[in-house]
Every structure is written in structure tokens, then in C-alpha cells.
Symmetry: C2
Subunit: 336 residues, 2 copies
């Protein structure tokens, strides 16, 4: 580590986060499951493959257009499970509450949890609540951990991208990060900005139904599309080329990014799924995605190339090509 | 709820915690798994029974005699799994770090995690790190969630205590809570005070090996022995009678409790297991416990009676009987 203290960057999902994992966590806790570093671990249990994952949520503000910290905490873990091809089944819920949190806020958050569970079909089976004195936490932090079953026919992994594959996404990018940021900063310039937070398990099931041979699924949360694709390019030893003009982005998000000086390719999404699969299946998968409410704006946004290995390239609208690196620095802290 | 805000009591593991669970969480998230309210949920997966549990750790201080927040977070979840009769297998680790936490503290905590995993045999398979700005959390909070397999022959539950059973414990009570409290308050009067934090899965395996028909296993953490036994008495519709003079307690802990005005029966333990089982098996189980390093001071401390249902009675050393109710109020905040 270069620094001697934890900085906001270490929670960004970008380079500093990866350094922390690689230099501190993996060496101390080393085991074959952890080393995969996918969205979920895959463990064997009773002869089947089980996906297992966790995320803590510290989003600020806890209520935002399109959701709250409770619904987000369920969606995030449901999505991490289904990005491994798993059917989400059971969830645990760990709450850390700041003394003085109004009960009505807790109820509102828990209604978000309940609604997200209902929509996705996952069940909260165990929970825990801790309270810390005022000023020692910020309102509410939530941890969710989940497990799900991976059908025998499915084998998705960040290692599986192959040259010739296409890269698809189920809709517009950067909606979550921009909605949080503008709400947090009290920016009123776009009232239509809304998080895309959503459970993607039924969309993923629809994709896998028409194309069980999908190579990679990944939800581009912290670090955005660019960081997620860098991880995939690096693990699969391939290059990913994106076409800027094909990437769905709403006009309000685009202008908010311009005003704020943010690159939407690095902004968090919470209801988006990157799918990498053989080109010959692209059309049918696109149709399946578009039939689903969370895939109405789905698009093919790029392709997998052999070289330069480990790199993500962006073909810009004016015809140039630039390299998209992994996120460095905490572009947006406490976005999830 | 009587109050309109979250108070420290709501995280005590006592009456206010139970009220929060019963009035807010269960109605909103209701499902048969959650309703059991045991240390772990028991779900079925691939035709087997899987225990699943979570706990967040906010202990202050993060380093204490006998452990740190990292080892505690692993022990706590391992113990919740094995109290359901499960063999702990896989763990997730969610960290919330305060900006500015020294790296060497994080490393020390993670070494605690690693050592506890090694001793118990559980594996961290997935993790997540969030960082919040200085003053929005207190150094480090850890969530662990774990899963384990329950052998077909085992059926332990807080509902299974039967009149005629004996109540056993594997050693002295109140060590953890008193070690934390004296360290936190800078009380130096007893240098020998040390947390009992330990992984109990091998001890529990030894118990189940000689007595697979154990009725109840429970680790008396927040709320202590009295609160844990109240839950069992209430769920099993029985009474529990304890014999004060049989309850192991170290001399330093006893005098610390006297000085601090605390009842050791309500102070948290992190390496203790209550076992309730048929009287005719007691001797053999006691022998098995005593052979294990974490059971050297094991004792039969009470028995299960038919009436008064739902109550815990204490036969005092002077020959009287008093009722031990559930913990009310947060006797010791941030003890785990």
C-alpha cells in the first residue's frame, strides 16, 4: 500500500479497492473460492453448485428517486447472485443503526426490503440489528448476504469471454450514480433523474432460457461499465471494444455528466447487466431482453477481440479509439 | 413501539431488540424460515438442511484482551451455525471502514479473521469493502454471514427443551462483556480479565458425537445466560431452573461485576454454549466437554421443569428462588 491509512478510494470499486483485496485480503484468507473474485463465490454443497455473496450498503442519502437503501441492498445481492447464473433463494440482513434514527425511516427502509424481496422472490431468513451511539454511524448501514442455486447447465464466469463474442447491456447507463449524486448535492437541474435499482434475476433467467451458453454476466455497479469490462478483459485475456454511439444513455444523465464533469462509463449502475455471448445468439437474446421491462432499451454495445489482451477500447463517435482504464480514485463515494 | 426513535436498547439483544424484530421485521418480511428466530435459519438446499446466519460487529474497542473485532466476527458466526448443529463451511465478510483507519489496524483485524478461520475450518469465500468519510462510522464495522450443513441425525432447536432435561454450560460466564467493558472504560483493576471469544464448532461436534439427541444448543451472547434461557423457556413452553452455586464464574469477573453493579447472568459471552439434553446423557456429555480445551470448566448448572412455563428461576446460594427475566435496557452497548 502506498498510503498508511484507509482512504475513500479503497471503497470505490476501482484500482485502490482491487489493491486492497489483492494485497491484504487474498494473501491472508487465501482459498480457491475467494481467489476467483467473481460477483459471487461458487461453492459446492450437497452435490450442487451454490453461489454465495455479500455487500454492505452505506449509500447517502438513504432515500433517493427510484429506491432506498433497503431496496438497493436486496437488489444488489440478488443481482450479484444472478450474475453467476444462480437462482437467488435466501438472504440475510444485517442492520447497523445510528441511535436517534426515526422509526418511520426504519419502517420505510424495511418496506423497501420487503418490496424488493417480493419482486425478486428471495427470502430474508436471518437478520441482526446493532445500534451505535449518535455520531458513530450515519443513519443506517445494511449488509445483505445471499445464496442461490446454479443450474447444472449454466457456466458463466468473468474468465469466459471469447474473441468473436458480442457485448450487450439491458439499458441506459449511469442512472443510479447520477441520481444519488444529484440528490445528495441538492442539485435540482434534472427532476427526471432516477436510479435504475432493480432485481435482474427474472431478466437473467429470460436470457439464459434462450441462450444457456452465455459466457459472462456482470452488473456494472461501483466503477461502472468501464471498470467491469476491464475486469472481464483481464480475467479472460481478451480485449473488449465498445462503440460509443451504441451505448444507451438518457439525455438528462448525459447532460448531468457533462455539467458535473463525470464520465458515464465510470458511474455506478444498480439495475444493469452486461452479457457477453456468442455473436450468433445475439439477436435472439436481444429480443428476449427487450420483451422484459428491465430490458426494453437493451443494445449490443461492443464486441470481444483477441488483442490488446486485458484492455478495453472505446470507438468514439468521431471515429477515434481510446483506451478505457479501470477507475482510479473514488469518483463518487457512498454511491451504494 | 413506545419511542419514535431508535435507542441503544434496540441493539441490546434484550426486550427492545425482540420488540423490534416482532413488530417491524417479522410482519414485513414474514416467511416460515424467519419466524423460527433461532441462532441460524434452517433452509433446504439440494435436498439437505443448510443453516444460514448473519451478525454485524460494532464492538468498541476493536482490540481487546482475548481477541479483536475480526476474530470475534468469525467466532460469532461460526458459533451461531454450530448452535443449530451445523458444520460451518463458508463465510462472507462485509467491511465498513472509516476513512483514516490505519492500515496496520486493518491488517491486525484481518489477521484475527484469518486465525479464527484457520482454527474453525470455515472459509471466507466472498467479501465487500465500503469506506465512509471520517466521522460517519467508528473505525471498522464487520458483518459476517455463514452457511453450514446440518447432518441428518441432528435436530436441535430452542423449541426442544423437555422437562427432565439438564442445562449445561462449557465454562465460566460473563468473561467477554466484562473484558470489553473494563478495557473500554480504561478500568485497570483486573489485568486478568480476558474475553472468552472462541470458535465452538469442534466442542459442539464432540458433544453431538456422544449425544446426537441433544435438544437445545444456544450461545448466550448479548443478553447473557439469563436472556438466552428465557428465549428457550418461552419457545419450549417449559421452565428452566438454575442453581446459582453451580454456575462457573471467575473470581476477577465476579468482583468486577460487583464493582460495576452488573449481574453476570446478563453479561455477554462469546465462547460459551448452553446445552440442554436428557439427564441420562449428562455425565457422558460432561466428560466429552471437559476433554476439550473450551470445555475444561464445563458444569451442569440447572434443569428443565414443567412449570412455571416460559420462566427462568434461580435457586440462590442462600436458598431462595428468584425469577430471572429477559434483559431490559442496554446493559452494555457495543459489546459485540
Amino acid at each position: 500500500m502506498h498510503s498508511e491509512q484507509i482512504a475513500l478510494d479503497h471503497g470505490s470499486g476501482g484500482e485502490a479497492s482491487a489493491e486492497l483485496v489483492e494485497k491484504v485480503f487474498v494473501p491472508l484468507l487465501d482459498n480457491p473460492y475467494l481467489r476467483e473474485l467473481d460477483d459471487s463465490a461458487v461453492v459446492s454443497l450437497n452435490g450442487g453448485r451454490v453461489a454465495m455473496t455479500t455487500d454492505s450498503y452505506v449509500v447517502d442519502p438513504i432515500f433517493f428517486p427510484g429506491g432506498n437503501i433497503g431496496s438497493l441492498a436486496v437488489h444488489g445481492t440478488v443481482n450479484d447472485l444472478c450474475m453467476q447464473g444462480a437462482q437467488p433463494l435466501y438472504l440475510t440482513l444485517g442492520l447497523i443503526l445510528e441511535e436517534g434514527l426515526p422509526f418511520q425511516d426504519l419502517r420505510k427502509v424495511m418496506k423497501g426490503v420487503a418490496q424488493a424481496c417480493k419482486e425478486s422472490g428471495i427470502k430474508v431468513v436471518a437478520g441482526d440489528t446493532k445500534v451505535v451511539s449518535k455520531g458513530h454511524a450515519d443513519k443506517i448501514f445494511i449488509n445483505t448476504a445471499g445464496i442461490g442455486l446454479i443450474p447444472d447447465t449454466i457456466n458463466v464466469s468473468a474468465r469466459n469471454a471469447r474473441p468473436g463474442d458480442v457485448v450487450m447491456i439491458n439499458g441506459s447507463i449511469a442512472d443510479h450514480g447520477i441520481a444519488i449524486l444529484t440528490r445528495r448535492e441538492g442539485l435540482q437541474f434534472q427532476s427526471s433523474l432516477r436510479s435504475d435499482s432493480a432485481p435482474l434475476n427474472r431478466l437473467v433467467a429470460a436470457i439464459l432460457d434462450v441462450c444457456p451458453e452465455v459466457h459472462v454476466l456482470r452488473d456494472p455497479t461501483r466503477g461502472g461499465v468501464a471498470t467491469a469490462l476491464n475486469e472481464i478483459a483481464s480475467r479472460s485475456d481478451v480485449a473488449v471494444q465498445l462503440y460509443e454511439e451504441k451505448i444507451p444513455i438518457s439525455a438528462p444523465v448525459r447532460s448531468a455528466c457533462e455539467i458535473l464533469g463525470l464520465d458515464p462509463l465510470y458511474v455506478a449502475n444498480e439495475g444493469k447487466c452486461l452479457a457477453i455471448l456468442p455473436r450468433e445468439q445475439a439477436e435472439e437474446v436481444l429480443k428476449a431482453m427487450k420483451r422484459h421491462p428491465y430490458g426494453a432499451a437493451a443494445a449490443v454495445i461492443g464486441e470481444v477481440l483477441e488483442r490488446p489482451q486485458g484492455k478495453v477500447l472505446l470507438k468514439t463517435q468521431v471515429g477515434g479509439t481510446r483506451i478505457l482504464s479501470t477507475l482510479t480514485g473514488a469518483q463518487l463515494p457512498r454511491i451504494c
